[in-house]
Symmetry: C2
Subunit: 181 residues, 2 copies
């Protein structure tokens, strides 16, 4: 094993699902996100205060979280390399959207699943803010659902990010079930 | 699109990397975790107060985070289905370990990468606690590193969790580079 204290890229050690966060009509990809609580259903995403998303957050009551397929990686990279301060990303990249229902915001039509969240907490940790939302509603492509409301891993290729502009997806053939009992 | 407010399993919408959290000599798998900050380097994991890990947290100054390969999914499932209250998981499952260097704790020999963290913050959100650690040291299998200290996605098959006991890994053949510039 190689041991290092060069910590700059510690977060490139493992792949992370990419989610696209919608605040108002602006979209920002995020690889730093996680469920926070089951009851109440809470979801968290890390936002740098340098981001336009952080700037406009106080004007909005909630946000959307959009999960896309691997074939959208190019759009995701574009959304991540530009700022809503400079351009209207929705029109610039011709992003197909529909309005969210429970909050004021947009859901990407290309997403296979999405959350609508109401702001629950905002907490500063180091150089990022943890934005936590309460999940009010889940949207999911019905064709990709198995019984029990599980995603069919054979039908969906979620986008993963492995650092340094590298996007990839899962291999459904490696699926194995390891019962906890 | 199918819209639901049945929120119980909202977190099964996307696959998550599995990390095994070591507190003292106890190991707990976690799918809810994320980097929190780059400078200082902070990493966060959600822990239920029902867990033995939560119970013993006050006795320890830090924790380890272990990233394993897909062939360890069976061990991970066992670590997740048992409690350190009832058994000594290390001896019960014959887990090969070595001692951490910067904190009191253990690193799994099977991990391809690991962090040593010092406790930084603990915050209750909903039915979980967010434990944040400052990353003091990174261990990584030297053979799996590309230049620039990036993981070689062709050599490593990280474990992902897709809900309901389903484990899978990435497909390196789907790698694509989407430059942000």
């Amino acid at each position: 094993m190689h041991t290092t204290t060069d910590l700059e890229k510690f977060y490139y050690l493992f792949p992370q699902t990419v989610a696209v966060i919608g605040v108002g009509k602006n979209l920002m990809p995020a690889a730093w996100h996680t469920p926070i609580s089951a009851k109440p259903p809470l979801y968290g995403v890390l936002i740098s205060p340098k981001r336009y998303t952080y700037e406009i957050l106080p004007e909005h009551e909630g946000f959307t979280v959009n999960f896309l397929l691997k074939d959208q990686a190019d759009l995701i990279a574009k959304l991540g390399s530009t700022s809503g301060r400079d351009i209207d990303k929705l029109s610039e990249f011709r992003v197909a959207i529909r309005n969210a229902e429970k909050i004021e915001g947009v859901i990407m039509s290309a997403s296979y699943g999405a959350y609508e969240c109401r702001k629950y907490a905002l907490h500063e940790y180091g150089d990022h803010f943890l934005l936590i939302g309460q999940v009010l509603s889940i949207h999911v492509n019905r064709e990709m659902l198995l019984e029990q409301n599980l995603i069919d891993e054979n039908m969906v290729k979620p986008v993963l990010y492995f650092g340094k502009d590298r996007y990839l997806t899962i291999n459904p053939d490696t699926l194995s079930i390891h019962k906890k009992d």
